[in-house]
């Protein structure tokens, strides 16, 4: 059974892709989506009542569609803009996720999105993921993972 944090992450990730990138993530992945590599990764660090990191990975094959839907066709072939677009999605997911977990009174500070090289570790050595959500998107997939550093937060109730 998914945890409250898993549900919050899943809902926030799906809603952000729908509203910002005009894409509809699917929870049931096709064999093609299952096999698609997660070859582009960005992360957003946050600090506040608790600290941690939101990591968003995506198949490179879907980046042109994401960028085109966010910016129009002009920027969709530029790798820099494609990565920036994924970074902005991570930023929006993180910004909307934290109040859902910590409550509307909590104040968090978010860092700018950071790109990760292929194979680079996205977590600190002793950290395990606090929540994870994976979706099929077009012919690829996306994965969002929340790491909370230190003590786990007291959770708000997910409606």
């Amino acid at each position: 059974m998914p945890s409250t944090m898993d549900l919050s992450l899943s809902r926030t990730t799906a809603a952000t892709f729908e509203e910002l990138a005009l894409l509809f993530p699917e929870q049931e992945l096709s064999p093609e989506q299952e096999d698609a590599p997660l070859d582009v990764t960005v992360s957003v660090d946050f600090r506040g009542p608790f600290t941690g990191r939101l990591v968003l990975s995506a198949s490179a094959v879907i980046l042109p569609t994401i960028t085109s839907n966010m910016l129009g066709d002009a920027g969709s072939r530029q790798p820099t803009l494609q990565r920036d677009a994924l970074g902005e999605l991570a930023n929006v997911i993180c910004g909307n996720l934290l109040p859902a977990i910590a409550g509307a009174e909590a104040v968090f500070h978010l860092s700018a999105p950071r790109m990760h090289d292929v194979g680079e570790s996205v977590s600190r050595q002793a950290d395990s993921a606090s929540a994870r959500a994976v979706f099929g998107v077009e012919e690829g997939r996306v994965s969002s993972t929340l790491y909370v550093f230190g003590a786990a937060p007291a959770l708000t109730t997910v409606a």
Binding site: A15, T16, E19, L20, M70, L71, G72, G75, L81, D84, A85, G87, E88, N91, V92, C94, G95, N96, L98, P99, A100, A104, E105, A106, V107, F108, H109, L110, A112, P113
Partner: protein
């Protein structure tokens, strides 16, 4: 009247999205200026006439809240219409921003949400926004 707009956001992608929405909105636009943080934004305001500011909150160097405080404490810009475009979800922080006299559009936003907020904040009239309305001549016989 054409509006000069300043968009302040550390994300080049989000600036482009906002500018794209502005251009699609039908708002009579003059110059659209961009800055990547609050400090850059203040420099732009020193040099350029701006009618509307679209402002992110979480930015390096100088965040949006600090930029907004400085704008409100400067006589030349204290009445500048400001729309905060942010993921900010903290009610504590949102209340502080409202107290500084700005509207807030939450990311992710629908283009019409941003457009409607701009119309409300700028006071653009229907005629300015949609152009003069042609009235059908009803004097003829049916």
């Amino acid at each position: 009247m054409a509006f000069n707009v300043l968009v302040v956001d550390d994300s080049a992608v989000m600036r482009q999205m906002v500018v794209r929405t502005l251009k699609m909105s039908g708002l009579p636009l003059g110059t659209v200026l961009e800055a990547a943080n609050g400090e850059e934004g203040l420099f732009v305001l020193q040099d350029q006439w701006v009618d509307l500011l679209l402002l992110d909150i979480n930015m390096p160097v100088m965040n949006g809240e600090e930029m907004l405080r400085r704008i409100r404490s400067t006589p030349e810009t204290q009445a500048l219409p400001v729309i905060v475009v942010s993921t900010e979800g903290s009610e504590t922080r949102l209340a502080a921003l409202h107290a500084l006299g700005c509207e807030i559009v939450h990311k992710p936003f629908a283009p019409e949400t941003l457009r409607d907020t701009i119309i409300r904040v700028t006071g653009v009239t229907d005629a300015e926004y949609y152009g003069p309305v042609a009235v059908a001549d009803d004097s003829g016989d049916f």
